[in-house]
């Protein structure tokens, strides 16, 4: 039977069935319930929780624990994820698997604790220095907070990458009924990890490649991995796209609002549809291009709580159309009617 819980609590339930054994946390609103639930559930299920002295330390504890072969994670919000940028780059360079939850709040700087989706560029494009990507999942419900976190550990181990759960203050704070999966996943054998054993003594975890040739080969290998991820794990949801002339594209909380908006447009006889990326990296750019080139889509509206970060990616996928940017900032979240009003206004500006 379903249980009522916050998205943030659902993350921890998902992590446990996903096989996570080590959580290194640091408190920040609006993500703190994840650390609270982890501090409660991890120790009493024989797993490990540690509150780090900073997000910098937390991400480096993850570097160590992931290097030791564990399924490990943390959760934070924008200001904390900024601090983790260094560690995320090293983790990408050393090809370590881990899971990070970002419950987005408004920025820049300290900003406020209300929802924005303005960590999109930081998380989807990498975040730290160097040529790398994270896999990024964008849940839009408490159930997906659970399910995507559970799946994230398999994805992280399969590709040896960081998997982000890019959430927001509403998806994290909102309570919804959640069905907890009843099959528990575990880490595969990791022959590359440091096991403190004779078999793993030769292993080296590093991101240094001193010769330009070695660094180039390593970076091209990473690139091939990201291409493979695009072919294998790109994920999205479509609603009413078969005959949609007006296509809304949105993720997370704004996708929920757009669903209501699209339903109202349909009720008024407007052929509107919604494409909701469930992965932001890899991005469903091929599918968007298909809908534009082969379908009846005549206009695209990208609805985001930032100044058009994902709209840039949608525009790249659909160069023949002018993408409308419907943006809210500062923690303001539109109603479905406000989305429809702005969509009409933008359409009229053409």
């Amino acid at each position: 039977m379903k249980q009522l819980m916050k998205g943030n609590e659902a993350v921890v339930h998902g992590a446990l069935v996903g096989g996570a054994t080590h959580f290194f946390g640091y408190p920040i609103t609006p993500a703190s319930e994840i650390a609270h639930a982890a501090a409660d559930f991890f120790p009493r299920t024989g797993r490990h929780f540690l509150q780090a002295e900073s997000e910098v330390a937390a991400i480096n504890m993850i570097y160590g624990a992931a290097g030791a072969g564990a399924r490990t994670m943390t959760a934070s919000s924008g200001p904390g994820v900024s601090l983790m940028a260094e560690g995320l780059s090293y983790i990408a360079g050393a090809e370590l698997p881990c899971v990070i939850v970002d419950v987005q709040r408004a920025g820049p700087g300290l900003g406020n604790i209300w929802p924005e989706q303005s960590d999109y560029n930081m998380v989807v494009k990498g975040g730290g220095h160097g040529n790398y990507h994270n896999a990024v999942y964008a849940p839009n419900s408490a159930q997906e907070m659970c399910d995507m976190t559970a799946r994230a550990f398999d994805i992280a181990d399969r590709y040896r990458v960081t998997v982000f759960i890019l959430s927001d203050a509403y998806i994290g704070q909102m309570m919804e009924p959640v069905e907890i999966p009843d099959s528990v996943h575990h880490a595969p054998t990791k022959p590359w990890a440091l096991g403190a054993t004779p078999e793993t003594r030769d292993n080296l975890i590093t991101s240094i490649h001193m010769s330009t040739a070695d660094q180039a080969a390593h970076n091209w290998k990473l690139k091939a991995k990201y291409d493979q991820m695009e072919a294998e794990i790109t994920d999205w949801e479509e609603v009413f796209t078969d005959d949609a002339e007006t296509l809304f594209v949105a993720f997370g909380i704004t996708a929920r609002i757009c669903l209501t908006a699209v339903q109202r447009l349909r009720a008024r006889g407007v052929r509107a549809g919604l494409l909701r990326p469930r992965t932001l990296f890899p991005f469903p750019r091929t599918r968007i291009a298909e809908l534009v080139e082969q379908g009846p889509v005549r206009e695209i509206a990208v609805v985001e709580l930032n100044d058009g970060m994902m709209a840039d990616d949608v525009q790249l996928a659909a160069p023949s159309l002018r993408v409308h940017r419907l943006n809210w900032l500062g923690g303001q979240v539109p109603t479905a009617e406000q989305v429809l009003d702005m969509a009409a206004q933008k359409a009229g500006q053409r």
Partner: protein, 486 residues
């Protein structure tokens, strides 16, 4: 005496060094080679090579993994103690060495070393202090002496501008958890022998599970000090040692001594999968009912003072929805504004999956106090319902196109014996009027939702009283026709 055979914990050839496989990458007269050898010999002596994990820092010793035939992990600048912590929490029997220089440990990584020490992590830290940044070519380190010339202190370090040299042993030994803190020197042969004993002890402590050990090694950097190797050792003794006293700061890890704090921690042993699944699913015990379909979407705003049970009333409502097999969302106002101020919760209940969880135009407003009805009365959809706590609201309805239930919830709750349950009175009144949630379901959910079980009976009495009140005071239809909903 110092052995001339290469320790087993070193690679025979330094294969990762390409062309220079037989040689070190360290400069002539550098102390790193000496310290490496002491550590390798200790690893050999204790027979722990297979379970040793060596954490390389950033700095000249970034390539320590060229030499050590152990597990190796290279860490970001200053972060090795955090990385070692992560490793330690996974592998209880690993021998984990964090090897760091002065810029790494005493500069950029100050927080990580202090907190790893303060947690008493059962790891061994070797801190090589040569009072200068070596790899980047000779800039000021946190341990650079006053007056010492470096590339970034070309006229000598000034206390007024750059601060004073940091004594890390002094800082670490101010904490209670570390069991062994010692500063040694590579100034001459006798000092090297003492250093060797310290390295050995620090490693032994970890193997014995005693706790956090920290050895600072004053080490020459002839190239960046711009001295010959021999002169550099002389300078070390004459200049570094007076600023950084060579001594034992703490040694509570020896057998028989009482450690101030120990890294005693039960190893993590995950519970079996079936127990985990049972634990995570165990909160759901309420019998469900199949309701008659046809419930219009309920968009409920519950508002009042913080502490009136606004959020918990919303959770109760959403839990009832689950028990009736319905979709539900609950969205709180949250954060600093909840502390002492007003609170509100948005609850949506629907037979269909729910889009936006925001309730800007409620079908029902449950107002626990005056400010709440003032704030949200205007937002209720025409034809909607307001259930208001007339005990705390001293005015009547302001609109003619919606229905009102003015119920003295605080007084009813107080009369029954628990004024804090006015929220339940209001919720039950809403249920009695709206037909959702079913009163029977509400009564079944309350015992599960309440943390204080001794209040269950009182809360059930609240439900009965509210139902009786609504029966006696039927809610009138709107006095004016509802406006069409947009």
């Amino acid at each position: 005496m110092i052995k001339h055979k290469k320790p087993d914990a070193f690679y025979d050839t330094f294969e990762r060094k390409g062309a220079g496989q037989q040689t070190t990458h360290y400069c002539p007269g550098c102390g790193h080679g000496t310290v490496h050898k002491m550590i390798a010999e200790a690893i050999d002596e204790f027979g722990v090579r297979d379970r040793t994990i060596f954490c390389s820092p950033v700095g000249c010793s970034v390539f320590a993994y060229y030499y050590f035939d152990t597990g190796n992990i290279q860490c970001a600048h200053g972060r090795a103690p955090a990385v070692a912590t992560g490793m330690r929490r996974v592998h209880d029997d690993a021998v984990i060495i964090s090897y760091q220089g002065d810029g790494d440990l005493a500069g950029i990584g100050t927080a990580e070393i202090i907190h790893a020490a303060n947690r008493g992590e059962n790891i061994t830290v070797f801190f090589v202090n040569n009072a200068i940044y070596g790899m980047t070519g000779g800039q000021m380190a946190p341990t650079t002496l006053i007056g010492q010339h470096t590339l970034t202190t070309p006229t000598g370090r000034s206390a007024a501008i750059d601060g004073n040299p940091i004594g890390m042993c002094e800082l670490i030994s101010a904490l209670s958890a570390p069991v062994y803190v010692e500063r040694v020197s590579l100034g001459d042969g006798n000092r090297v022998l003492k250093a060797r004993r310290a390295v050995r002890k620090a490693l032994k402590n970890q193997i014995d599970g005693v706790g956090f050990s920290f050895v600072e090694i004053l080490s020459p950097c002839p190239i960046n000090w711009k001295l010959t190797p021999m002169d550099a050792r002389k300078w070390l003794i004459e200049n570094l040692e007076p600023a950084f006293p060579v001594k034992s700061f703490r040694d509570t890890g020896t057998p028989g001594a009482v450690a101030t704090a120990r890294a005693t921690r039960e190893p993590s042993r995950p519970i079996p999968d079936d127990e985990l699944v049972k634990l995570l699913g165990s909160q759901s015990e309420i019998e469900t009912i199949d309701r008659v379909t046809g419930l219009p979407e309920q968009r409920v705003k519950i508002a009042g003072f913080g502490g009136q049970g606004v959020l918990s009333a919303g959770i109760l409502l959403a839990n009832c929805a689950i028990s009736e097999g319905l979709h539900a969302t609950w969205l709180p106002s949250y954060g600093p504004e909840m502390r002492g101020g007003t609170a509100n919760a948005s609850v949506i209940v629907s037979e269909e999956s729910i889009g936006s969880p925001l309730v800007d135009e409620p079908t029902t407003l449950i107002a626990l106090n005056g400010p709440s009805i003032d704030a949200f009365e205007g937002s209720v959809v025409p034809g909607g319902l307001i259930v208001a706590n007339s005990s705390l609201i001293d005015r009547g309805p302001a609109r003619g196109d919606i229905r009102y239930c003015m119920i003295p919830a605080s007084k009813i709750a107080q009369d029954i014996g628990f004024q804090g349950a006015a929220n339940v009175v209001l919720l039950a009144a809403y249920a009695a009027i709206a037909g959702f949630p079913a009163i029977d379901i509400l009564r079944r959910v309350i015992p599960h939702a309440l943390k204080k079980k001794d209040l269950v009976d009182l809360n059930l009495q609240m439900v009965d009283a509210a139902v009786a009140f609504v029966a006696e005071h039927p809610v009138a239809a709107p006095s004016t026709a509802p406006q069409p909903i947009r």
